[in-house]
């Protein structure tokens, strides 16, 4: 990460909060953690343009737990909404009808919005070199409608439209669409993957992106207790394992170059899969396809990392690309302490298990 960033360690995390407790999101929702961290870096003059999905319920009339401005558009066209607002402001500024106050525009959609129905609108916004941020919080399914298979659903995961049955022992039979590469082909100003388990990595990427004009694109691992099926207290742990197993590479694409910002420890992928109900069938002894499916998942991880010149072999220590510690072990507990007990429906996540995450 560039040496001149203001957030050098987790201790420099901005204290200001722009996303407050009180939303109707599930406890332990990984997406909210990422939004909260992102807004800390982007600051008060952020205008969010949202597409249909879980996060749409961040604004339920007459309540708002956001300090940012907000426009809910529709499922497919949040990037076009961002375009309209940016264009309006640019037009008014260039005509002297408004002052340039450095308003930042953040598109917020799920994976359904980004990988599938809104891909066209996103492609075009990048093509027009729109100056905006995009956070795709990827919970790997259509969550808001009850966790149906999307382009982001990984091979072997069961969803409500790829359920396990006598004729389908695997669940989702296709592989996860490679949105990073699709977006990368547009050569945006900034592109990165993030995870709520790696707040320092996340904030540094946002800060680095903020120095660039043009599309600043983020795909975040949105650990989703409700849809993926695990206890809310395990949310950060699941996200952490997604990174540690090599399932969710943390990387960035800047100036034509992809850099992996975290080199995983390559924890066996079973540890990640086993925690989640959506992969439960892969550990069912009576499932004839289970072994082969897990082997296929492993193969995919191995070949991904091999292509990066890295052998996917278990390591003792987590190493970051520049050799320093990623800070995530400290930060996951830090964040959850300051986050407090999530309000809203369901049971609050317990601080005890978050400490457990910190020990990981």
């Amino acid at each position: 990460m560039a040496g001149d960033l203001s957030i050098k360690t987790i201790r420099e995390t901005p204290l200001e909060e722009y996303l407050h407790p009180g939303s109707s999101m599930c406890p332990g929702c990984g997406a909210q953690v990422m939004i909260r961290l992102m807004l800390k870096v982007l600051g008060p003059k952020t205008f969010i343009v949202n597409a249909a999905g879980c996060m749409t319920l961040l604004q339920t009339y007459p309540y708002s737990n956001l300090k940012s401005g907000w426009l809910y558009t529709a499922f497919a066209s949040a990037p076009a909404g961002a375009q309209g607002i940016r264009d309006a402001l640019d037009s008014l500024i260039s005509q002297g009808k408004a002052r340039d106050e450095g308003i930042k525009i953040l598109v917020l959609t799920g994976d359904g919005g980004a990988y599938d129905i809104g891909l066209q609108a996103t492609s075009a916004a990048m093509d027009r070199d729109l100056d905006f941020y995009y956070l795709c919080y990827d919970n790997e399914a259509y969550g808001n409608t009850g966790f149906q298979q999307s382009g982001a659903s990984p091979y072997g995961s069961s969803t409500t439209t790829s359920p396990i049955g006598r004729l389908n022992p695997v669940g989702t039979e296709k592989r996860k669409k490679n949105l990073f590469e699709i977006w990368k082909a547009h050569n945006p100003a900034y592109l990165a993957t993030i995870s709520p388990s790696h707040p320092l990595d996340l904030m540094q990427k946002v800060e680095e992106a903020a120095r660039r004009k043009g599309p600043k694109m983020f795909i975040g691992y949105a650990s989703c207790p409700t849809g993926m099926g695990f206890d809310p207290s395990l949310s950060i742990k699941v996200a952490q394992l997604a990174v540690d197993t090599g399932v969710w590479p943390l990387k960035k694409y800047v100036d034509g170059k992809v850099t992996h910002t975290i080199i995983p420890r390559f924890v066996p992928v079973e540890e990640y899969l086993r925690l989640q109900a959506r992969f439960r069938h892969l550990f069912d002894e009576n499932n004839p396809a289970a072994k082969e499916a897990i082997a296929k998942i492993k193969d995919e991880i191995r070949s991904y990392w091999k292509a990066q010149g890295i052998e996917a072999k278990a390591r003792h220590h987590m190493v970051i690309a520049d050799g320093s510690c990623c800070g995530s072990c400290f930060s996951s507990s830090f964040l959850w302490f300051s986050w407090g007990i999530p309000s809203g429906k369901g049971k609050p996540s317990s601080l005890h298990t978050n400490m457990e995450v910190a020990m990981l």
């Binding site: 205008f47 401005g69 907000w70 558009t73 076009a80 309006a88 005509q95 408004a98 609108a121």
Partner: protein, 404 residues
């Protein structure tokens, strides 16, 4: 300035005179000339609007609505398939209460695919919350855009407007148009402040309570009703500033008429010709042409229809399984009115099928000696229509596979 311009150019002039700040665009025949004209003007510094090339009409309407909320006077245009592609967003932007103007250059809907006009596209959007103007002439097209901005942006309305002109028949027809040199104070400054650090609203949020949903939806109806008054004020100011008179209901030889044809848009010009010729035979006929369908000018329409013996509604659309959409509105307005005239429903002009004088004569004959047993509409169909169809079907049905 008086100039000979097409309907499309007249629409573009409306946007230019309104000094719009923003125009998101996407091509479609027969609308494209509008956005080409605006692009040309922008490239030459004749307008200051920012023009953005979108990738679809769905995105175009999203961007238009968002920009209108962000403080920019916004214009955009489409036709037919494009309007339907954007359909989801039509309801959204009106729910956002985003007061911009959308020109729709009417074109029949596929399938079968056609380029020529009818009103199924615009009427499909009838319930979207947009105000709807249906222009007959190029002059009226320009006037509609300016009046639409004025009414849409009025605090009591705050809804988008759709200005419809017929593809080809009006979009590509040159007529003499009085283009105002400037607007004077006809159009007040744009009412929505720019988004800024001190102005960060939350817009379009979810409502979880049906009572609240009902409240907001009904507010849109009340805003449309307020738009009737605002329209009347705007019409009167428009005449004062530009010397051009518009009315919600345009009447032609209707005052002393026993029988009237009710229809909208450019094909009314053909009705005028037919009415003149029918009058020569001593039958008192006239034309009643609603210029605005949303808000629906019920009272004005009823007073225009008062005392008539027969009303023939010419629908340039079809609602399969029912009949004419315009007929439904006129008939429901007349229901229960004292001495309501006999009303008959005709479907014509689909996919640009030009109505002939004989078709109008037929409609009037049907009014004079009505077939009271008839339920549903009459499709206007001439021998010539049958001949063309027979010819083409015989080719299509000739059978056999080419090359076998």
């Amino acid at each position: 300035m008086l100039d000979l311009i097409t309907g499309n150019e007249a629409i573009a002039w409306g946007a230019r005179l309104a000094q719009v700040d923003y125009v998101p665009i996407y091509p479609i025949t027969p609308q494209t000339e509008i956005v080409e004209k605006l692009s040309e003007w922008a490239a030459n510094g004749l307008i200051r609007a920012r023009i953005t090339k979108m990738e679809s009409e769905h995105s175009m309407i999203t961007a238009a609505g968002a920009a209108a909320l962000a403080g920019a006077r916004t214009f955009t245009a489409t036709s037919s398939q494009g309007l339907l592609y954007a359909f989801e967003m039509l309801y959204n932007v009106s729910g956002w209460r985003a007061p911009f103007v959308l020109a729709n250059v009417s074109r029949g809907l596929a399938a079968p695919l056609t380029l020529l006009p009818d009103h199924n596209d615009a009427l499909a959007a009838r319930d979207s919350g947009f105000l709807q103007f249906y222009a007959e002439t190029c002059q009226e097209a320009l006037d509609s855009v300016l009046i639409a901005y004025r009414v849409s942006e009025s605090r009591k309305v705050m809804l988008p407007s759709m200005v419809n002109i017929d593809g080809f028949y009006l979009s590509f027809t040159r007529e003499k148009v009085m283009i105002p040199d400037e607007l004077g104070d006809f159009l007040p400054p744009y009412p929505i402040p720019a988004i800024s650090a001190g102005n960060m609203p939350s817009m379009g949020p979810t409502v979880l309570d049906p009572s609240v949903y009902s409240y907001f939806k009904y507010q849109m109806h009340l805003a449309q009703i307020s738009a009737l008054d605002e329209l009347k004020k705007a019409i009167s100011d428009y005449e004062k500033v530009f010397g051009i008179k518009r009315s919600l209901i345009d009447e032609y030889m209707a005052e002393d008429a026993d029988y009237v044809i009710v229809m909208t848009s450019s094909f009314a010009t053909m009705a005028r010709k037919a009415i003149k010729s029918i009058r020569e035979k001593g039958i008192k006929v006239g034309l009643i042409r609603p210029w605005v369908l949303r808000p629906f000018p019920r009272d004005d329409l009823l007073s225009a229809l008062a005392g008539k013996r027969g009303v023939a509604v010419f629908d340039q659309d079809v609602s399969p399984g029912f009949g004419g959409a315009l007929y439904a509105e006129i008939a429901s307005s007349l229901y229960g009115a004292p001495d309501a005239p006999h009303i008959a429903s005709f479907i014509g002009g689909l996919g640009g099928k030009e109505p002939t004088i004989e078709e109008f004569e037929f409609m009037i004959r049907e009014l004079i000696s009505p077939d009271l047993t008839r339920r549903g509409p009459v499709m206007l169909w001439t021998d010539k229509d049958q001949r063309i169809l027979d010819e083409q079907r015989s080719i299509a049905l000739r059978g056999g596979v080419v090359g076998r």
